[in-house]
Symmetry: D2
Subunit: 335 residues, 4 copies
Amino acid sequence: MSIPIGVVGFRGYSGVEAVGILGRHPEFEPVLLEHRHDAGDDRKLVRKSGPRRAAASPEAAREAGVQAVLLATPPEVSMDVTPGFLAAGIKVVDLSGAFRLQSAENYKHWYKEDHTAADLFSEAVYGLPEYNRAQNAGARLISNPGCYPTAANLAIRPLVAAGVIDRAAGVICDAKSGVSGAGRKATHKNSFCEVTENFSAYSILRHRHVPEVLMTSGLEEPEFSFTAQLIPIDRGILETIYFRATKSMTAADIVGVYQKQYENEPFVRIYEAGHVPDLHAVRHTNFCDIGVVLDAATGRAVVVSAIDNLVKGAAGQAIQNLNLIMGFEETAGLL
Amino acid sequence: MSIPIGVVGFRGYSGVEAVGILGRHPEFEPVLLEHRHDAGDDRKLVRKSGPRRAAASPEAAREAGVQAVLLATPPEVSMDVTPGFLAAGIKVVDLSGAFRLQSAENYKHWYKEDHTAADLFSEAVYGLPEYNRAQNAGARLISNPGCYPTAANLAIRPLVAAGVIDRAAGVICDAKSGVSGAGRKATHKNSFCEVTENFSAYSILRHRHVPEVLMTSGLEEPEFSFTAQLIPIDRGILETIYFRATKSMTAADIVGVYQKQYENEPFVRIYEAGHVPDLHAVRHTNFCDIGVVLDAATGRAVVVSAIDNLVKGAAGQAIQNLNLIMGFEETAGLL
Amino acid sequence: MSIPIGVVGFRGYSGVEAVGILGRHPEFEPVLLEHRHDAGDDRKLVRKSGPRRAAASPEAAREAGVQAVLLATPPEVSMDVTPGFLAAGIKVVDLSGAFRLQSAENYKHWYKEDHTAADLFSEAVYGLPEYNRAQNAGARLISNPGCYPTAANLAIRPLVAAGVIDRAAGVICDAKSGVSGAGRKATHKNSFCEVTENFSAYSILRHRHVPEVLMTSGLEEPEFSFTAQLIPIDRGILETIYFRATKSMTAADIVGVYQKQYENEPFVRIYEAGHVPDLHAVRHTNFCDIGVVLDAATGRAVVVSAIDNLVKGAAGQAIQNLNLIMGFEETAGLL
Amino acid sequence: MSIPIGVVGFRGYSGVEAVGILGRHPEFEPVLLEHRHDAGDDRKLVRKSGPRRAAASPEAAREAGVQAVLLATPPEVSMDVTPGFLAAGIKVVDLSGAFRLQSAENYKHWYKEDHTAADLFSEAVYGLPEYNRAQNAGARLISNPGCYPTAANLAIRPLVAAGVIDRAAGVICDAKSGVSGAGRKATHKNSFCEVTENFSAYSILRHRHVPEVLMTSGLEEPEFSFTAQLIPIDRGILETIYFRATKSMTAADIVGVYQKQYENEPFVRIYEAGHVPDLHAVRHTNFCDIGVVLDAATGRAVVVSAIDNLVKGAAGQAIQNLNLIMGFEETAGLL
C-alpha cells in the first residue's frame, strides 16, 4: 500500500515534476495539498482522474494520511506552513531557499525579507545526499539544495578536498539555466518573445545561490565567482567551471579524483578525460553528469557539470531525500 | 528633410517594428509619442541616441512637427486618442481593431466592449492597399487590417471573384501564428515554458478576425470557418486554406488567377503550381507569399498564404498605407 | 525475472524511446541489437552501464534469450530482417511502414520501392489496439501504425461509425508534427537553422500515411484530404480535423460518441465539449487526447487530436502491442 | 549607379546575409557568383527577380562589372579562388579563416590542412576596422575577422592597453554562439532535434579562433582561455569574460576606458556600469555591445560582449571593410 505524500505548490514547475515522480514511485502516492497561493486550471478531461486532493493544512493532510510533505513553494510560504506540519508530526522536505542559509541575518541579506521561522534553522538539514546522507535519514525537516548549488557543489567539493585547485587563482562558475528555473509566474522577462532567440546574463556576481556554494564546496568567498545566464530552453542547468590545477596533472588525474569520490553514488556520472556532458544527457533524469578538460601546458582546467534543474535540482533530489527520511532505497522511483 | 511620424505604443512588438522601418525610411523619421499606457525600460547605453520623443498628445505632436501618427495600441487606446489627433490635423493609421468593423454593434459583439468613437466609422478606410489603394490616398484615418485577415483576404478574394471556389462546400482556414501576435503583455499562456515545445489552438471558430475576412473576401458567414493556432516562434503567420474547385482545373489554372490579379503588386508573390511558401520566405519582409496544390482527381485544393505578422500583418502594411496617404511611392522603405 | 526484448535501430529517435520504456517496464528488459545500419557514438561515461547488446541476427538474439523484437528501422531494413526473426521463433513488432499497406503494389505506389517480403502481408496484423486488440494477441508479426494515422483514426473512426459526419462535404485533416517524426538522419531541411522560427507544409495531399487512414477510419479516398506540416519542436503531433455534422447536434453530442467508444480505453482521453488538447497534454505519454468544438448554427465541427509521435505514435504503441502479444497487462510500463 | 559586388558562397548563411545587406546598400549591388561548391534550390516564385548572376570566375566577374568580391566560402575555396580574382584586378574580402593567421605553419596547426596560397599572407590585412582602419583603406585583400575573435578583441584589447587587467590571474572567455555559426552543411550535431532544448560545449581550450585573439588582444597564450558553446538559437554570439582588475577600481572606471577608446566608433556601444547586453540588443545589427560588472571587494570583473555572428561577426563587418576599401562612408548600408 502506498504512503501518501503531500505536495504543496503542485501547479508550479517543480511541483508538477514532484507529483509525476511520486505517481511512478513504488512506495509513495501524491496528495495535492491546495494552498491559496495556487493558481491555474486543470485540463478539461471528461473522465477526471489523478491524485487525491486536500487542503494545505496540517489537519487536512493528517486526515488524508499524509506522512510527509514536499513544499514546492516560495520561501515565504514555506516559512509560513512548515511549523504547522512539523507540529502535526508530518515531515517536511522544503524545496525553497527558506531554510538553506541557516541564519536569519544571512537570509535577510540574500533574500531581502525577514525570516519568520528562524527557530527551525537548528534542525533543518541541508539535503545534499551525496554529502549529508547520514544526517538526512533522521531529519524531520530537510532543506532541499538550490539548483545551481547542486551542480556546483558536486563538481567543486571533491577537487577542493583533494587539493587540486589553485585557490589563489580563484574558481569561476559560468552557469546557464533553462527558463523553468525562474518559476511559473508570468513576467515580461520570461515571456516567449523575450526569451526565444536570446541569451542573457542576470545576477552577475551576486546571485542568492552563492552562499550555498560557499557553505558546501569548501571555497571561501573571495575565491569564487558566479554568473547566472538564461538559455532559451525549458529545463536544464549547465555550469562551466574554470580553475587552475595546483600542480602538473592531467585531465585523467582529475577524473580519478571524481571517480574515487563518486564510485558508489547512483546519481553522479563521470565522463572520460577530455569529454563533457551536454544537457540532453541529463534531461528528465536525477543524474549530475561531470566531465573535465585540461590544458597540461598551462594547468588551466574546465569542468562541465550538468543537471536537470527540475529533477536533481529540485523535485528529484527532494524525493531522493524523502526516500532517505522514510527509510526506503535512495534510488526508489528515480532511475 | 525627413517628415516626422509619431508612433504611439512604441514599446509593443508592432510599435518597435514601426519605429525600425521609419528609421530606415527615405522620407520619414519616427517620433516616439509617450503614452501612460507604455511600460518598460530602455537599454542602458552610455551614449543615448535613437528617435526624438514627445508626449502622446495632439499639442506635443504638432510641436514636434508630426504630420501623421501610427497607433500601435490596444483598441481602447486608439478610440481614445484618435479624435484628438484628427482634430489637430494629424492623420492617423490605426493598427488596432478599433475602426475595422464599421459598426458599433459589430464591434461590441466581437470585442466585448463599447465603442467610444463610433462617429469615425464613416471616414475610416479599411487599408488593404491591394484592394483599397485609391480610397487610402485621400483618407485622414486608415484602419490597418488585422494580421490573420491580411493573409486570408489576399489569398481568398481573387478566387471568389474568379468563381473557382465551390462555395457550397465551404472554405476552411487553418491559421497558425507566432507569439508576437498576442502582444507584449506578460501572461502565463505566453510565457516561455508554456509555449516552447508546444502547439495549441485557440478561439476555434470564433476569432474576432473572422468578420474582417467576411467583409473583404467575398465569402458569406456560413461558407467560412477559421481556427487560430499558436506556433512556438516569435513572428510569422501561415494559413492553410482548403476548398473545392468549382470545375475541373489544375493548380496552374489557379496560379493563373493569382498572377492576373497580382502581377503589378509589389508585395504579393505567387509560387509555381505545386509549390508553397514557408515562414522563412516572408520573415522580416512586407511580402504576402501564396502557393497552391490541387488534387485534380477530386478537385480538392490547398492554398498556403504566409506573411510576417509584424510587417505585412501590422507595421509594414501601416507604413505602406502611410506612404499612400502622404503621397510617396507605396514601396518606400519597405523593400 | 525480466524477459529480454530486442531493439533494432536503437539509436534512432523511436528506438531510444523504446529502450527507455522497456528499461522502466516491470516485465521486460531491452537488449540492443546492433545492425550495420546503426550510426553514432555512446556517451563517454567512465562507468559504462545500460542494456545488454548483441548482433542484430536471429542467432545472436536467441542466444541473448530475446523473445520478441521491436524494429525501429526504415522499411527496407524491416523487410530484410523480419523473415529471419520469425523463422527463429522470435515475434516481431515493426515500427516502419513495411507491413502496413498489405499489398506489394500499394506499397510500391506510396513508398516508391519494391517490397521484398510480400508473403508476410497475410499474417501481419495492423496493430491499433483500440480496434484490433483481439487479433494482436495471437500475432507473430505486428505492423505498428504510423504516427499521423494513429491520431487521425482514433479521432475519425467513431464519428464515421456513428454516422455523424457529412461525408459528402469531406473531412480535412490539417496535421502538424515535431521534427523527430522525420527521423535521425541529418538533412538540410531538418537542420536547426532551417526549422527554428519557421513553419512549413510538406507532402500536401499525397503523404504516404493517407492510405492507412483510408484502411481504418471508414472514409473513402475522395472524402479525405490530408496535409502534413512541420512545427519547430522536438516531438508531438496535433491534428486539426474539419467536417460538417450530418444533422443538428451539439459538441456535447459528439463528445458523447467518443465517450461511448472509449470509456474503457486506458490511452484515449476525451475533453469536455468546447475544449481541446495542446501538445503539452500528451508529451512523453502514451495518450491520445481528443476534443471537439462545434458551431451549432452551421454544423461545422473542429476536432483536435494530439499524441506524442514517439510514444503513442511509435514506441509506446509498439510496447502496448508487445504487452498484448506477450500476454501482459496492456498498460504495463506505459502509465 | 550601383557598383557590382560579387558574392561567392551566396547560399551559405553569411552569404545570404551579405546579399541582403548589399541589396539595401546605397552604393553597391550584389552579383551572385555561382561556384561548384554551391548547393540548394531557389524559391519557386512565378515572377523571378533578385540579383544578377554570373559564374564564380574572374572573367565572368569582370564581364559583370564586378569591382570587388566577398568570399563567404570555406577556407579551401577562398585559397583557391583568391589569386585569380586579385590577378584580374578585383579586390577581395574573404570571410573564411584562410588569410587570418598569417603563416602557413600556424594555419596548418589550427586548420589541419595545407595552405595553398601562402604568398598572399604578406598583403592580407586583418580587417578589424576599429583597429586597422587605415591599413584597410589601401588593401587589395582583406581577411575578415572570425566571429568569436571580433567580440573578444573589441572587449579585451582596450583593457589590456590600459593596463587594467591582472594578466597573471588570466582572462577567461566563456563564449556562446547560435547555430548559424557552424554553417549551412547538414550534420547530425546541428540537426534540430539535437540542438533544441540542449546546450553544449565544444572545442574547449582549443578552438581555432584562439590565435586570432592572441594576435590582436594583446594577451599572451598562457593568459587566455576560451570555451565555445552552442545555444539553441539561430544567430548571435555572447561572450562572458572574466578577469581581475590590477588595482582598486569601479565598474565605472572600466566603462570609462571603453568610452575613451570607442567614443567615435559607430558600431561599438558601451553600457552604463553594472549593465550588460543580451543578444536581442544586437540581433540583425552590426553593433558590438559591451557592458561591465565589477565586485569592488574582490576586484573580480565580468565583461559581456555581444554581436550578431552573421553581421558584425561576418557579412556586416565584411561590408564595413568593403566600404573602406572602396572609399565610401564606413557605415553605408549598415545602420
